[in-house]
Assembly symmetry: C2
């Protein structure tokens, strides 16, 4: 019986590490500038492929080492697996315009240099140039209500950020392996939290963290999140998980979200001010323009955090979801029983070439005045216990009311105030998004 | 990969159930009165074998179905297993005096009726009558520093309650299978908490509790215990454990302990007043005069709670320990790596005929004024966090000071007051022990 867990192997067997600092690798190659994907209706930037290049090249998406071919994409959409058999839930496409192809006379077999904000950054060895039908792609990338009725309650549409990303892709794609030839530097505060899978595994070993539970976040942590992390970290095996890896998804945001800087520093504050000891806590991020694919997105989260060395992953209600497209429990079902319509007749842990990171499905935390704090809703037997929703909290903050300690730790709220002062608003607005696209998280 | 747990089978494959309500089974048999074992030095009752009969006959100790033969005892002491191979950590002996044997002309092959407080209660089918060397038994029952130096720091002596029980045994023993022929009734409040392994398994199924974590207790729960139960219950498998089974060990006590009635009703108060919902909490007990055998006792706890249907068991520092005889971490080591000197080269889960209940080794909970409550010591990063010891708490209570809500829930403290009023003292004293032996937990 295996009841003592070890750090899982990288997914697919080894970490992709495709980073050299040798610009000469592209000497004489044609080059393209990386431009953001723009929501045509609003003009707002919703994706920058540099994030996908970073996540591929540093191994977050291992074993994926490339932008996908047409065959890859078809395999992913129909099986949610790469043609090699490894699970991969969503199309990763480097889309370009016909003009770019023509202007640079790009053809299969070429190496094309990709420039970021005017600097050489990475290259793709072009294996295939293919036509993207963005309308069809957006319609099928997340499944369809007809085929995936067990999960999808209605077809995705323009209100869905992931649908928007695929729908606004250009009509040609370059497929092939990726390599970074010029590592960018991270701006403050991102630099403190940039931990690649190789580095994360090294740190886990150095700190003797055998079991680590991943916490997916796109929020400044309120007391409910804090309690969730503390309690879920008790899952472990023969002892509570040795540590919690907070891994924020950093990339394009939705209006009204907390800003990325506050999310990272908010989690850092919990550690810095002793609410969760540094001895069992680490804050990190992955660059990715979140697709909000709920159960599909959760598979990507599992892949990323297994690659980072985690043994467990928290999954709540409405994981990586938005609107009411998905069954709120789709992710928890997927990880425990499977979702046959997506090609998983059993949990992704129990299928061929499956994942190793273990799901920890958790319910909600509520504030109970009788218990005197945040408690697990299933544990508390008081009628007085109440959930405070994210929008309630954002409402309080936007009104300029300092939330009570029962909702936010003061030191965490101070982080919100700090970034509010910087951006003149506590939440993501159009100006933040445009500025983010202008500055990105990195520089050269 | 098996990562979704199911209720484990009873240890040894099936539950012992040796209870008839047919006194005729003893028609014409010789009979003995069950007398308590008395500490010769103090005259205080320290054990009543009726508790062992109850625990055997109702299956708590399955697969043990008998009082041990000499061979059984030698096997248990040398291998910590029954001759059939099942793990059993401590000798279970029905000791009698030479006079009793002679007076009733008892011999092997006889069925002897056992009377409790003047009522027919049970019988033993005598397989063997053997000589007990109580001095040797007490010296070896828990191992010796010479042989078990990895765990035992010094030889047990008259200050050790388990040593006392074996040392004060009479010099003959009757071995053989046990059956109850006349079920006693439990006094209030024990009656509410008497849940046999068969019944506990039935309730778990009825309530859809797939995973249940056992909490061993001999304390009225303070806030630290409450938090331990709540947080350790997050271990589970794909989701937090569905429930917590509080299982108190009820039997002879040490001076200064909380009284048994307050222990049970204190845990009940947590449930009754909503601090831990009835939907995932159940309070029960096992009759047993605790031997304080630390890692050995933990094996018995594992057997009992596996028989009750639990998937997990909390083990803390100094589990079932007393004084400084045992390495404080011996139990946690046993369950994770084994204790070779006791015959366990690996965890009892990983050996032949091993147990299935999983260990959850937990550290300490402390009060942190900065976090604002009880927190896991390994999680909290504040210097201000402080442990309050059991003796500190008992000190406060004995002084007549109402402990703050941060230490005891008011409703739990009310339970202490209730039994304080009844017994004129909040803790076990000589009078309580004598009265307990006089009344027992049962009547006919």
């Amino acid at each position: 019986m295996e009841f003592i867990l070890e750090m899982p192997k990288p997914y697919g067997g080894r970490l992709v590490e495709a980073v050299s600092n040798n610009k000469e690798e592209c000497a004489g190659c044609p080059s393209l500038d990386i431009n953001s994907t723009i929501d045509m209706a609003t003009g707002i930037p919703i994706r920058n492929a540099y994030r996908e290049i970073m996540s591929i090249a540093y191994g977050f998406f291992s074993p994926l080492d490339r932008f996908m071919t047409r065959e890859d994409v078809e395999s992913v959409i129909s099986e949610r697996r790469l043609p090699e058999g490894w699970i991969f839930p969503l199309p990763i496409i480097y889309d370009v315009s016909e003009e770019e192809i023509r202007e640079k006379s790009l053809k299969e077999g070429d190496r094309v240099q990709l420039n970021l904000k005017g600097h050489p950054f990475a290259y793709i060895d072009i294996e295939e140039i293919w036509d993207v039908d963005s309308k069809d792609l957006a319609a099928r990338a997340f499944g369809t209500p007809e085929r995936n009725g067990e999960v999808l309650r209605k077809a995705l549409d323009q209100k869905h950020p992931g649908w928007q990303i695929y729908r606004n892709m250009k009509n040609r794609a370059i497929a092939g392996k990726v390599k970074i030839i010029n590592e960018p530097k991270f701006r403050d505060p991102y630099n403190r939290f940039w931990i690649t899978p190789a580095e994360s595994r090294r740190i886990f070993k150095e700190r003797n963290w055998r079991t680590v539970i991943a916490h997916q976040t796109r929020n400044v942590p309120h007391r409910g999140h804090e309690e969730l992390m503390k309690e879920a970290s008790f899952c472990g095996d023969i002892e509570p998980c040795n540590a919690i890896l907070v891994n924020a998804i950093i990339g394009s945001k939705r209006m009204g979200d907390f800003v990325d800087e506050a999310i990272l520093e908010g989690h850092e504050a919990l550690e810095k001010y002793g609410y969760i000891s540094q001895k069992r806590h680490m804050v990190s991020f992955t660059l990715w323009d979140m697709r909000y694919g709920s159960p599909l997105e959760s598979l990507l989260h599992g892949i990323i955090r297994q690659n980072m060395g985690c043994t467990h992953h928290m999954f709540g209600r409405d994981h990586a979801s938005v609107g009411d497209y998905f069954d709120p429990y789709a992710t928890q079902k997927l990880w425990t029983k499977g979702l046959p319509s997506y090609g998983f007749p059993d949990s992704p842990l129990n299928v061929d070439k499956g994942l190793s990171i273990r799901p920890v499905n958790v319910g909600e935390f509520v504030y109970c005045p009788i218990c005197g704090g945040m408690v697990y809703a299933d544990t508390c037997g008081h009628k007085e216990a109440e959930k405070f929703s994210g929008s309630f909290i954002r409402g309080i903050i936007a009104e300029g009311i300092t939330p009570p300690d029962a909702i936010f730790r003061n030191e965490v709220y101070d982080v919100i105030l700090k970034w509010w002062a910087k951006y003149d608003y506590p939440f993501v607005n159009r100006r933040y998004l445009e500025r983010k696209e202008e500055e990105l998280e990195v520089y050269f």
